[in-house]
Amino acid sequence: MSYALPKSWIAPLKAIVFALSLVPLARIIYAILFDTISLGANPAETILHMSGDGVIYFLLITLAITPLRKLTGWNDLIKFRRMMGLYAFFYACVHFLSYIGFDRLFDLSDMAREIVKRPFILVGFAAFVLLVPLAVTSTRGWVLRLGGARWSALHKAVYPIAILGIVHYWWLVKRDITWPVLFALVLAVLLAYRGFKRGGRKIRAAS
């Protein structure tokens, strides 16, 4: 139960996904330049929210690729995983830069104090820092350099990163936790699938 698209379709499809993934950024830039009113009365906050949501969406998409591939048998999906992961990192950079710029006015000592003082900022910052080595080692060269087993052990860090990201969101909302709960449920399903798979393998190996 596996199928593949014609090889010649992959590159154009990648280009389309690449462009679609830039839509949130394009919306932000367009709004800043030509249409600030569409960002509401607090444009900086809207940009923080849009980029933060972008991180969570792309992390969840990245984590959904393996389960989807196994469930559907469409193995080409794996060819999009690195791009999705890098977009998660890209929107994390936009989010982080918006925060230190708009909120902390590029005052790094002030930022450091805030990170230490506020748990929700600390976990968000930790998630961001942990993403950096994953982004750096996302190339084919680094896979070879590290070796497949070590590389994939390192990249399992995406699980705690996703958890930290959603904890960050959960802790920052004032009262209404609807969205963080929904994201947490999706993440729980994606992580549970992996636990279930691994458990299944162990049982088969034992028998």
């Binding site: 009365a41 906050e45 710029g101 708009f102 003082k117």
Partner: protein, 314 residues
């Protein structure tokens, strides 16, 4: 995503700041010629639900910043009864029926009474331009229309047992979608110490930008205490009680470690979520305005708190 959908005024509907400010000359001129304040309505097309008001210029500390555009102040609201995002109140609040509306005033008073909104609107109104500082570290400058709360209090004659004032907002699940979920302990309640309530700056507010309040801004009547964080300014008030004990407010119930009874704007008292040293004067991108103690109204209100530990009584 609902959180990004701000009601988008057409370019033609946006009042240029100078037009809004010039409106004042318009009114002054109109009054001088006896035409009256119907001119207010012609200076800017009134939105469907709000009505122009008659008022005089009130005495309030003059601010260096110009008023925030009306379109921003009426589309970016914390009003959880209509949803927890900033844009939802403007989308959802039209369902609130503000006619008829009465405010029940009771508790430790000699003359309890129920007063209709039309009676409040018939009283002498004034405009006050106040800075509004939200606990979320943003601020706006808003021209409110109303009267000192003490004027209303004098109608009911509070007794010596009245130590605090408790405000209760409307909570109508059929008209307010947010009230159907237990985001806060409805109805929304707020309170002030008696001397705070009777302070001339404490403003019983019936309008903004020269007209009655839009629903999303707390129509038809709310309270505004400009030296306190915005959540103290209870909206759509249906009950006012003069009480002997400090009332427990909705936000104290939600998180007593974050939201205190006093909630005075104070850059020296940190909040677990937001640094209060700076604020974003909307619609600015950068949070570069230094927050002033008592939101800049220190000269007027500092004496209310002499000898009090403001960090403990946050």
């Amino acid at each position: 995503m609902p959180r990004y959908s701000f009601p988008k005024p057409k370019g033609s509907e946006i009042t240029p700041r100078d037009v809004y400010l010039n409106r004042r000359h318009f009114i002054a001129g109109a009054m001088a010629t006896g035409v009256g304040v119907s001119m207010v309505g012609t200076a800017r097309a009134a939105s469907a639900a709000t009505q122009p008001l008659t008022f005089k210029q009130g005495a309030a500390p003059v601010l260096s910043d110009k008023p925030t555009a009306r379109e921003l102040a009426t589309t970016y609201n914390n009003y959880y009864e209509f949803g927890t995002s900033k844009g939802e109140p403007a989308h959802n609040a039209s369902t609130l029926k503000i006619k008829p509306w009465t405010v029940e005033i009771g508790g430790e008073v000699a003359k309890p009474r129920t007063i209709g909104i039309e009676d409040l609107l018939a009283m002498e109104l004034e405009e006050r331009i106040y800075r509004m500082r939200c606990v979320e570290a943003w601020s706006m400058v808003i021209p409110w229309v109303g009267m000192s709360f003490s004027k209303l209090a004098s109608l009911v004659e509070p007794t010596s047992k009245a130590k605090y004032v408790k405000f209760t907002s409307a909570a109508r699940p059929e008209e307010m979608p947010g009230v159907r979920s237990r985001i806060l302990d409805w109805p929304y309640t707020e309170g002030l110490r008696m001397d705070e309530a009777m302070h001339p700056l404490t403003f019983l507010t019936l309008g903004m930008y020269g007209e009655t309040l839009p629903n999303q801004n707390g129509a038809p009547v709310r309270i505004v205490t400009p030296w306190k964080y915005g959540f103290k300014n209870a909206k759509s008030i249906v009950r006012i009680d003069f009480v002997s004990e400090q009332p427990r407010t909705a936000w104290m119930t939600a998180g007593a470690n974050e939201y205190g009874f006093y909630a005075n704007v104070n850059p020296e008292v940190d909040h677990p979520r937001w640094s209060q040293k700076h604020e974003r004067l909307l619609p600015a991108f950068f949070a570069s305005r230094e927050t002033e103690k008592f939101n800049g109204y220190g000269a007027e209100v500092t004496s209310l708190y002499s000898g009090m530990d403001l960090a403990a009584n946050f």
